[in-house]
């Protein structure tokens, strides 16, 4: 029996991708995601797709879970593709009554679908190979220069860190409450949209109340251990850029530039 994994949940492994500096991973993946919007050739996308497949293999994470990471965006993907196919003007390749499919619409739909899938895959690589602690440490290090302009980078990083750590707890709690309400006859899977939405009230309400209680307890526990907002803190886990991080940065740059290079030639 498989326990429910939510999108991008960290998967423990000793792969090279897991051991990379979180700052490098965050910035590289962010760079690739932004870059995705500048690629406009199928060739470029194929290179990036090959790159993400290599990364999944290197990360030793479950390949099926990488495919499953598309599930949350499946409806968005279908909606976007259908919208582009039927509503993009251009050279008509097929028509039936008022329905017109254009060459430009088909091209755009394919590009957008691949772009969304790649976006999901690259995000999956980041979140499945980086623990929540590493993510928050990395994020804190990245935004720390903003302290110069009095941006509370440490507090923001702490908020993100706590939120990330609460995600699996909330999922477990939701599962526990769901099972308890199902034992009292609650049915979360049948009925129309309105009935389904109503049936989730016995799940959402206790979940929210418990989350607020937990937040209260956490705040008290932190204050009891001397936490002060805006206090000066030193990191316990020191981060250092190593050779493998440089190789990862260089390969990311090479792959993205290569895909762009071919696009300008074609």
């Amino acid at each position: 029996m498989n326990r429910k994994n939510f999108f991008g949940q960290y998967q423990y492994s000793n792969s090279i991708l897991h051991s990379l500096d979180p700052r490098v991973k965050i910035l590289s993946i962010f760079y690739i995601i932004v870059f995705l919007f500048f690629v406009k050739s199928l060739w470029g996308y194929l290179i990036l797709l090959a790159f993400v497949i290599i990364l999944v293999l290197l990360s030793k994470v479950n390949f099926a879970s990488a495919i499953r990471s598309l599930k949350p965006i499946l409806y968005l993907l279908i909606f976007t593709v259908v919208f582009q196919i039927f509503f993009t003007p251009g050279n008509v390749v097929f028509s039936f009554h008022f329905i017109k499919i254009t060459k430009e619409g088909l091209n755009l739909a394919i590009y957008i679908a691949i772009r969304l899938m790649l976006l999901s895959f690259f995000t999956f690589i980041l979140t499945s190979t980086t623990s929540s602690i590493e993510l928050s440490d990395g994020f804190q290090a990245i935004i720390s220069p903003l302290k110069i302009i009095h941006f509370p980078s440490e507090d923001v990083a702490l908020m993100i860190s706590i939120s990330l750590q609460f995600v699996p707890i909330l999922f477990e709690e939701a599962d526990r409450i769901m099972k308890a309400q199902m034992s009292r006859g609650a049915d979360f899977n049948s009925g129309g949209i309105v009935n389904r939405a109503k049936s989730f009230l016995p799940l959402i309400l206790p979940l929210l109340l418990n989350a607020f209680n937990r937040a209260d307890q956490l705040a008290i526990a932190m204050e009891a251990r001397g936490f002060v907002v805006g206090g000066k803190r030193t990191p316990y886990r020191a981060m250092r850029i190593k050779v493998k991080d440089c190789i990862f940065i260089l390969s990311t740059l090479a792959v993205t530039l290569f895909s762009l290079f071919r696009w300008t030639i074609i």
Binding site: M1, N2, R3, K179, A180, R184, G185
Partner: protein, 280 residues
């Protein structure tokens, strides 16, 4: 009535998180039994009780309710929960309704009972759990004391009038008074002939309340029999990391001076024996 046959549950197979929660477990639960399920954390207790009403499906084996496999699809979910009621740990954390009435009525309404029947079920369960109905029925469940909340949570499952009630750590996190109040109410259910299954870490509670005991260790059933026999098998109790109940260890110490001291589940009767003996 309820039969678990050769059941195995493995969480996350083929991953590094693989955990064999239950391994080839077989047991039968009949009408009017009073059973404790004991074991250390991670021994498979919670997984086992979730099998009882089909909340999880076994990877291997079958779960039969009155001879029908509950995971085969022929049995309606409502039919199952009507017969097997489960009260999970810290059940008060699952409250959502504005009043005690609505909170308890949630189960009976889901079973499709009409308003008259729902009211009847709510009143029955509140009375059973020892509440003054008119005092509590319109109050918010969130504003009750810890012990009252726990009893309301148990009442919300009792309102569905199940044949079997499974209580997962019913007195966890409660003070002595609250614990005793729960224990007293549960004993009343037993007297009414309902099958009660306790999941507990508290060996005193397990010994005092149950006739039959099922001990789990690392997913295996290592003992299934009279609770008295289990606690007299000290090597086994120690091996699976559990404690001997106070009543038994107290009696054992007294045996040196009073070899004829009777075996008792109740500490009061031991004290009474002592007082009679010492007064002579």
């Amino acid at each position: 009535m309820l039969e678990i046959r050769n059941v195995s549950v493995i969480y996350d197979p083929k991953t590094i998180f693989k955990k064999e929660a239950l391994i080839n477990v077989s047991l039968k639960i009949g009408y009017g039994e009073l059973i404790s399920i004991v074991g250390k954390i991670g021994s498979g207790k919670s997984t086992l009780i979730q099998l009882f009403n089909g909340l999880i499906k076994p990877d291997q084996g079958n779960v039969f309710l009155n001879g029908i496999d509950i995971n085969e699809g022929n049995m309606l979910r409502k039919e199952i929960i009507k017969k097997i009621g489960i009260v999970f740990q810290y059940p008060e954390e699952q409250f959502f309704a504005e009043t005690v009435f609505d909170e308890i009525a949630f189960g009976p309404r889901n079973l499709g009972q009409n308003d008259v029947k729902v009211k009847e079920s709510v009143l029955y369960s509140l009375e059973t759990m020892g509440f003054n109905v008119s005092e509590i029925i319109e109050r918010s469940p969130f504003h009750l004391s810890g012990g009252e909340k726990r009893r309301i949570a148990i009442a919300s499952v009792l309102a569905m009038r199940p044949d079997v009630i499974v209580l997962d750590e019913p007195a966890a996190g409660m003070d002595y008074e609250g614990k005793m109040s729960i224990v007293t109410q549960v004993r009343k259910q037993i007297e009414k002939g309902m099958t009660v299954v306790f999941v507990t870490h508290d060996m005193d509670e397990a010994f005092y309340l149950s006739d039959r005991l099922i001990a789990l260790d690392k997913g295996y059933v290592v003992f299934d029999g009279p609770s008295k026999d289990f606690f007299q098998n000290e090597p086994l109790v120690n091996k699976i990391g559990l404690e001997i109940p106070f009543t038994i260890s107290f009696r054992k110490k007294l045996l040196k001076c009073f070899p004829d001291i009777p075996f008792s589940k109740d500490i009061d009767s031991l004290i009474e024996f002592l007082s009679v003996r010492l007064s002579h």
